[in-house]
């Protein structure tokens, strides 16, 4: 039997009821080669400090709950393995750019509001009755938006976006990817309604094409592409208004 291996996990802790600012604590965790960083955190909670707080659920990169900064990189801790860092120390910290609620848990309320603001549902171009039957969509039309449906709202892209860190009002990559998903859907007619938000102060022009959001996305959604395509769309919309005024522009 092989010898038990240990790894040091440094956790950025923050207890709002007693701490003024976060501080680091280091734990020496025994691990096996099949253990994820999330399991490392669970080991700490079960054996060293039951107050360690973090979010998790599915353990298979679907629920999007367990995102954290692992050695400074936004990752899902359930699909990041301790063995890949051994023998070096692993540092874990709450997702960057969000306010820390407690330990590894961040305040996502701003993100939830943004998700609502993009109207992430099909807004039919014209009212359709049941007896008109189902919508018909070709495989090519499905491909237009398919990749953007893969978002699991893990917010790693926000933790990768310095522009969001500098301006928390920026609608951000994840919500924009979802907005784009509906705009690109042939059943949807809501693009014009969503344009006001796309072109607003909080909209796409906060993005300076750093591109790290798409780099860290665990689902290959490419949110940077959604944001940047909508820069072009917003510019087109702005200039085409001079040619054919639609009225009601703000």
């Amino acid at each position: 039997m092989s010898e038990q291996k240990f790894i040091e996990i440094e956790v950025l802790r923050y207890k709002p009821e007693s701490d003024e600012a976060p501080h680091s604590e280091v734990y020496k965790v025994p691990f096996t080669d099949d253990m994820s960083v999330l399991q490392g955190a669970q080991y700490i909670k079960d054996n060293f400090d039951g107050s360690l707080t973090y979010r998790w659920s599915c353990r298979m990169a679907i629920c999007g709950s367990c995102g954290m900064m692992i050695n400074g990189v936004p990752k899902l801790s359930c699909e990041t393995f301790i063995r890949d860092y051994y023998p070096n120390r692993i540092t874990i910290e709450a997702l960057a750019h969000f306010p820390i609620e407690k330990d590894l848990v961040v305040d996502l309320s701003g993100f939830i509001e943004k998700l609502e603001s993009v109207q992430p549902y099909i807004i039919p171009a014209e009212k359709r009755s049941l007896d008109q039957g189902e919508y018909i969509q070709t495989p090519a039309q499905v491909q237009d938006y398919m990749q953007f449906t893969s978002c699991i709202n893990c917010t790693l892209c926000y933790a990768a976006c310095p522009q969001f860190g500098l301006n928390p009002d920026f609608i951000g990559p994840g919500a924009m990817a979802l907005l784009h998903r509906y705009n690109m859907d042939s059943r949807d007619g809501g693009a014009e309604q969503r344009m006001e938000l796309v072109a607003s102060e909080e909209g796409v022009f906060n993005c300076s094409a750093v591109g790290y959001c798409s780099e860290v996305c665990p689902k290959h959604v490419d949110p940077a592409n959604a944001v940047n395509i909508n820069k072009t769309n917003a510019a087109k919309d702005y200039f085409l208004r001079f040619l054919s005024p639609k009225g009601g522009a703000k």
Binding site: Y14, P16, E17, A21, P22, G72, V73, A96, H97, P99, I100, E101, D107, A140, Q143, D144, P162, G165, L166, S208, A209, V210, G211, Y212, S214, E215, D222, A224, N225, N228, I229, K231, T232
Partner: protein, 132 residues
């Protein structure tokens, strides 16, 4: 009473915290070299407007060792600027479909770089022939 006290971390020095951001700041900074070259050419244009002596003075200044080193630095920085510009092109373009298949990021980057190389070579050949 709520014990909530969300802690907001500082963004000071954000670009030094991740190699990706360091590279981003470097490639964005190379735009200053593009600006420097534009200014150099603009000065040439102004000197041309000031007459033959001024123009010849500008041409002579370009041949000084300092100017050559400056232009070498410009060439390297602008080449890197062009490379990174094409590197982010896949995220800025709408999907391009060729025969129903989405063009891969690699094809877009390679296409951009090849187009830039061909255009640059074409320009050099053209200027060379005019000069000769």
């Amino acid at each position: 009473m709520s014990k909530r006290k969300p802690y907001v971390r500082s963004m000071d020095g954000w670009w030094k915290k991740n190699p990706f951001f360091v590279e981003y700041v470097i490639h964005e900074s190379t735009a200053l070299f593009v600006l420097a070259y534009a200014v150099t050419l603009l000065v040439g244009l102004i000197r041309l407007g000031q007459g033959e002596a001024a123009w010849n003075g500008w041409l002579a200044a370009l041949q000084s060792p300092g100017a050559l080193v400056f232009h070498l630095a410009l060439l390297v920085a602008i080449a890197y600027h062009a490379y990174t510009w094409f590197k982010i092109m896949p995220i800025t373009l709408p999907p391009i479909r060729v025969g129903g298949e989405k063009l891969s990021p690699c094809a877009i980057i390679t296409g951009g770089l090849v187009a830039a190389a061909v255009a640059s070579l074409g320009l050099i050949v053209l200027v060379w022939r005019i000069a000769a």
